[in-house]
């Protein structure tokens, strides 16, 4: 989970990510940042994120992003 916060902080510094549940809805993460985030997640956690998973529910909070990572690792995609 801390790794998610580190990645977010590196991609877009100066934002308080803890406790946020509206990262996509509030446009804190725009589509270009999301692509950068996905690239980092795939590298760090050795997963492949399908386009179908790029929905606000999976990216609105650090917890949701972590849950997505865990689910994709479990599926072994």
């Amino acid at each position: 989970m801390d790794a998610i916060l580190d990645i977010l902080e590196e991609l877009k510094p100066g934002v308080e990510y803890r406790g946020r549940t509206d990262l996509v809805d509030s446009r804190e993460l725009d589509s270009l940042t999301i692509i950068a985030l996905v690239a980092e997640l795939e590298d760090v956690f050795d997963i492949a994120v399908p386009a179908a998973e790029i929905v606000p529910e999976n990216l609105n909070s650090p917890e949701a992003i972590w849950a997505l990572v865990c689910r994709l690792r479990e599926q072994g995609l």
């Binding site: 991609l11 877009k12 692509i35 690239a39 386009a51």
Partner: protein, 524 residues
């Protein structure tokens, strides 16, 4: 009946359909909607309705095939000892093939009907011998319902919606008449089941739907149709006017397009409410944007969302682009690398966006114009932040925000000047003349008043623009005037509807001396 803005539609077809919808039992309401939708389609496009029927059949059959394949994949994954990775890969390949057949069939119809002539025109100068193509015509709203058809298939493939076994429900999802002409582009999950369920319509929906239709009519008839008197002559013969008049025409065309398209969307959303259907909003105060990309999140929202979900992310996450992104990250860093590599996906989005608007070189140029602006904006953003920090410019201050608003307005007006031109060549020429041949005196010496709009026309447009600004500010602040009117009781509700109706009747630009603007997005 040629559009939503004819007396036959507004006085007979719409109220008649709404009445029938209310009178029949709930379980038969879908049939009223489907019959009305096909009747509307037939009135506007005649036998070309066969094409939307073919699209509905194709997505029905393809959806069922995808559903069957997904079920078989699920069974194989559930087997003990299954090599889950291999099973996933096998079925992914099969389902992709099925999806490709359905998508290509739909896009094939669109390309054949809309782009064949344009593509032949591009190839002929290269020496290719092309036979004369038959002129079939374009079914109304083909670009809109094709996007809905494709989104349904991709959503079934992705598993976000289940395949629908009912072809009539899919036909209604594609053809629902309030949205068929100009959108909004709905997803299956947003409207298909609601259209079928025949939910009861509340008095509040009738009020807010009627008021929204009247507000849309006012935008179109008071502003868009009135501005046509100046915009059409200038763009029909731009060589007769200097840069000052061309700039004014570009500004007024931008306003006209907004009032025409967003007014039609108000009507669509309002008509949807008359049948108990919540259609998605397509505009969110676009002229309050501070960047070009924000503008496109607020203008034609459902088109932007469609391109993001079905072009931008899939292209960005495709194998070759992922490899490119990886290389760019290593070379340029975690932020700049993906921004640079995103150029591939952005190029695809804006090429498709430009071509979607029409088969013409001006639309290609329009798409490339925004591609360059938005991609360059992403690339220079870190440098811009650093420069502002160095110069001590606050990026959260009113001065910076004001600069961004003005910059975005200029970008949008220049884009619409290209968009309204007859070709890319003319678009570039007009942009050049608007900047190099700009003379303010032609705006003040009476030249403008000789084109087609008199002082009274300008005053009416000016007053309505102030009204639009007030309405926009209220919506930005989360205030919904129709909600407030509903709470204040029946007298206020009737007064609102009557005032809007009077606004259309008294200030609408119709009759002798006015030519209504063609519903611009209907031909897309």
């Amino acid at each position: 009946m040629t559009s939503y803005f004819t007396p036959q539609f507004l006085v007979l077809f719409l109220p008649g359909s709404a009445l029938c919808y209310q009178l029949v039992p709930r379980r038969a309401r879908w049939a009223v909607l489907l019959a009305a939708s096909y009747a509307f389609f037939w009135a506007l496009s005649g036998w070309l309705a066969v094409f939307v029927t073919v699209s509905a059949l194709v997505i029905w059959l393809t959806g069922l095939a995808l559903g069957t394949e997904a079920a078989r994949r699920g069974r194989e994954l559930a087997e003990l000892g299954a090599d889950r990775r291999a099973v996933r890969r096998l079925w992914q390949r099969r389902m992709r093939l099925t999806l490709a057949v359905g998508v290509l069939a739909n896009l094939g119809i669109l390309v054949a009907l809309k782009y064949a002539g344009f593509l032949a025109g591009l190839v002929r100068p290269l020496g290719a011998v092309m036979p004369e193509l038959p002129r079939i015509g374009l079914p109304i709203g083909i670009s809109f319902y094709t996007m809905q058809a494709v989104s349904y298939l991709v959503d079934v493939y992705r598993g976000t919606v289940a395949a629908d076994a009912n072809p009539l429900r899919l036909a209604l999802y594609l053809t629902f008449f309030p949205q068929i002409m100009e959108g909004p582009i709905c997803r299956y999950a947003q409207t298909a089941q609601a259209l079928w369920s025949g939910a009861p319509v509340t008095a509040k929906q009738v009020f807010s739907g009627s008021a929204r239709v009247l507000w849309g009519l006012a935008k179109r008839m008071v502003v868009a149709d009135r501005l046509n008197s100046l915009v059409s002559p200038v763009f029909a013969d731009p060589g007769s006017y200097d840069g000052g008049v061309i700039v004014l025409a570009a500004v007024l065309y931008t306003l006209q397009l907004y009032c025409d398209f967003s007014g039609t969307m108000d009507c669509a959303v309002g008509m949807g409410r008359l049948f108990g259907i919540a259609l998605p909003e397509n505009f969110s105060q676009p002229f309050f944007s501070r960047t070009a990309s924000e503008f496109w999140r607020r203008w034609h929202v459902t088109l932007g969302e469609w391109f993001k979900d079905y072009v931008f992310y899939p292209v960005s996450l495709s194998g070759p682009v992922k490899r490119l992104t990886g290389a760019a990250r290593r070379a340029l860093g975690g932020r700049m690398g993906p921004a640079a590599a995103s150029g591939v996906a952005l190029f695809c989005v804006w090429l498709a966006n430009g071509l979607w608007h029409g088969a013409g070189t001006q639309y290609l140029l329009f798409g490339m114009y925004y591609f360059v602006l938005i991609w360059a904006g992403a690339l220079v953003e870190p440098a811009s932040q650093a420069l502002c920090a160095r110069l001590g410019v606050s990026r959260s201050g009113a001065l910076w925000h004001g600069f961004q608003h003005v910059r975005t307005l200029l970008v949008v007006v220049a884009g619409e000047l290209i968009f309204r031109s007859a070709s890319a060549e003319q678009g570039l020429e007009l942009l050049g003349r608007a900047t190099l041949d700009f003379r303010a005196d032609s705006l003040l010496d009476g030249t403008v008043l000789a084109v087609g709009m008199d002082v009274a026309d300008f005053v009416v447009v000016g007053v309505f623009v102030v009204l639009l600004l007030v309405a926009g500010v209220l919506r930005e602040r989360g205030v919904h005037p129709l909600e407030g009117a509903w709470r204040r009781g029946p007298v206020v509700r009737w007064a609102v509807c009557f005032a809007l109706l009077m606004c259309v009747v008294v200030f609408g630009a119709y009759g002798v001396g006015y030519t209504p603007v063609d519903p611009m997005y209907a031909s897309f």
